[in-house]
């Protein structure tokens, strides 16, 4: 596609439920990043994929958060037993290391609200 796409754009769930957020990167981009942005703050890094493998998951806040990228393209961020503190905008970015100096391009985000 022309840009990074994310679905859904909005997700409202109840505390304790499971959610999945999807990211479709720019075609051909091998690097994929997930970030989380809370109100009034800059985005914060969660996890980085190079190809199919999670090369750096140091930003995941706890083991309720997990992400996969099974075919090296689309990625899914999974959150178990959601808590109200998980409410935020979840952003996905992709890049092509080695070209354009690894400039990252962001999707529109998924706004998650946990009631």
């Amino acid at each position: 596609g022309a840009g990074v796409s994310q679905t859904p754009s909005n997700k409202v769930t109840e505390k304790g439920k499971y959610v999945e957020l999807r990211c479709d990167p720019i075609s051909g981009h091998t690097a994929l990043y997930w970030y989380r942005q809370s109100l009034g703050q800059g985005p914060e890094f969660l996890i980085y994929f190079q190809g199919t493998g999670a090369a750096d998951d140091s930003g995941l806040p706890n083991d309720r958060f997990f992400a996969v990228r099974p075919e090296g393209s689309v990625s899914t961020l999974k959150i178990q037993r959601t808590e109200r503190g998980d409410s935020a905008v979840y952003l996905c970015a992709s890049s092509s290391p080695g070209t354009s100096g690894n400039e990252q391009f962001f999707g529109p985000g998924t706004r998650l609200t946990v009631l």
Binding site: A31, Y33, Y35, Q37, Q41, G42, P43, E44, F45, Y48, Q50, A55, D56, G59, V89, L91, A93, S95, P97, S100, G101, N102, E103, Q104, F105, F106, P108, G109, R111
Partner: protein, 111 residues
């Protein structure tokens, strides 16, 4: 980890005025990007500028890597320039270039 400070935190301009936004960072970087976050939350790429100077229309940016700062210049501001401007940097660790963002600068341009 690397620290990013942006100043000023808030800026109010009259349409047509010029402004300078500053980004200071605490370590050597391999990636520096300026973004504009529009009212719908979309992060729009303005510049990829780990060093040097670039210009794009009314916007220009300069990064002095040896002194660890970057400047974003907005000339002849328009109301559509309103929003939050983020500076984000990365240090190269293997192939990972995860970005660390500043807290942003909220710009309001009044007609």
């Amino acid at each position: 980890g690397i620290q990013v400070e942006q100043s000023p935190p808030d800026l109010i301009l009259q349409e047509g005025a010029n402004s300078t936004l500053r980004c200071n960072f605490s370590d050597s970087v391999n990636n520096l990007q300026w973004f504009h976050q529009n009212p719908w939350g979309q992060l729009i790429n303005l510049f990829y500028i780990p060093s040097g100077t670039k210009q794009n229309g009314r916007l220009s940016a300069t990064t002095v890597a040896t002194e660890r700062y970057s400047l974003l210049y907005i000339s002849s501001s328009q109301t559509t320039d309103s929003g939050v401007y983020f500076c984000a940097v990365a240090t190269w660790t293997g192939a990972n270039s995860k970005l660390t963002f500043g807290k942003g600068i909220t710009l309001s341009v009044r007609p």
